[in-house]
């Protein structure tokens, strides 16, 4: 991807720079494929952050369940989805949070795209 390209609204290209920035956060999320890891995280988030050396910015975004903040901190949506799963957030819940809507409004917007 040529990074000199014009930006696309509301879209972060997950390139090498993002991948380096988000490595610890994404690695933590990748671990959540295992149920034991998810359970461990739920018991003590802070201790679990430490195992993966999350940056303070990444920790804060996760504490706040702030998806745009996680993306800004290098999170990749495919890995973040596993964290969202722990919190019981669907992709519509995540979409709603990122676009400042309620989940119902976000679902309505998707339905309207089909009309």
């Amino acid at each position: 991807m040529n990074m000199q390209q014009e930006p696309i609204f509301g879209t972060t290209i997950f390139d090498g720079e993002q991948a380096m920035k988000g490595y610890a956060l994404n690695k933590m999320c990748f671990s959540f494929n295992d149920k034991a890891a998810r359970d461990e995280f739920v018991v003590d988030e802070e201790a679990y952050f430490g195992k993966f050396n999350l940056t303070e910015v990444q920790k804060q975004a996760v504490r706040e369940k702030n998806i745009l903040g996680m993306i800004e901190a290098g999170g990749n949506i495919y890995y973040l989805a596993k964290l969202a799963g722990i919190y019981g957030l669907s992709v519509q819940d995540c979409g709603a949070q990122q676009t400042g809507m309620t989940t119902e409004e976000f679902k309505q917007k998707l339905l309207e795209a089909g009309e």
């Binding site: 290209i13 494929n33 998806i67 949506i77 989805a81 799963g85 995540c94 998707l110 795209a113 089909g114």
Partner: protein, 279 residues
Amino acid sequence: MAEIIGGLTSSHIPAIGNAIANGLQDDPYWKPFFDGFPPIRNWLGEKKPDVAIMIYNDHGLNFFLDKMPTFAIGAAHEYHNADEGWGIPVMPPFQGDAKMSWHIIEQMIEQEFDITSCQEVKVDHGFTVPIQLFWPDRGPDMPMVIPVCANTVQHPIPTMKRCFDFGKALGKAVRSYPENKRVVVLGTGGLSHQLDGARAGFINREFDKMCMEKIVSAPEELTKISRHELIKQAGAQGSEFIMWMMMRGALPANVTALHENYHIPISNTGAGTMLLECQ
């Protein structure tokens, strides 16, 4: 000799796996999507392919950012699904045609596509959901599988042209296999959708329909679309369309679109389903 008899496309959204697990096929939200499959299942029931080449992308079940192959091909007798972390049921293992896999791997590298061979690879919803849609009972007609995994996670992802060319090399590799096998190639994922960022929920019907039209009769034209343009027009995860291009490249120039279906929305996605029969 092996023969490619057709190409299939399908979205591979995890919510589809949940809908199947909950028996929602006739629910008003889901019906227009699931109705796109019986004609293709009938065709598969009639043609009975021996092997299905499943082109998909891993979503963080098998591959992590520590090592991210651009193109990987499974070379195992059996492939396992596993817990992805958010609750779709884990499916029983899939039988692989390892012998044909190795032939394809050798022939791809001979043609200078330096792919990654995988004797162990966990297959995620990108692989399992299309199988559930096309072979829901996984009965005696269920073909053996060969997973082909493309990187859509970590940019730079391969270009549309490279993916189309990959498909051409794949097709040539399959057709040089000495055993009489009937093969279908599945291009999964897409169509337009975006899960992340302030543009989450983006869907582009016009672009999707254009892609579904051109992929039949003028796929070369689609190779001119840059990755940046693809993301702009199809959304960040709409870039999964590159796997449709890989599928199409494996088919001959002339194909007949026997069936197609397009529906918005399935979860956050414009869902496209196609059956392309080789002429």
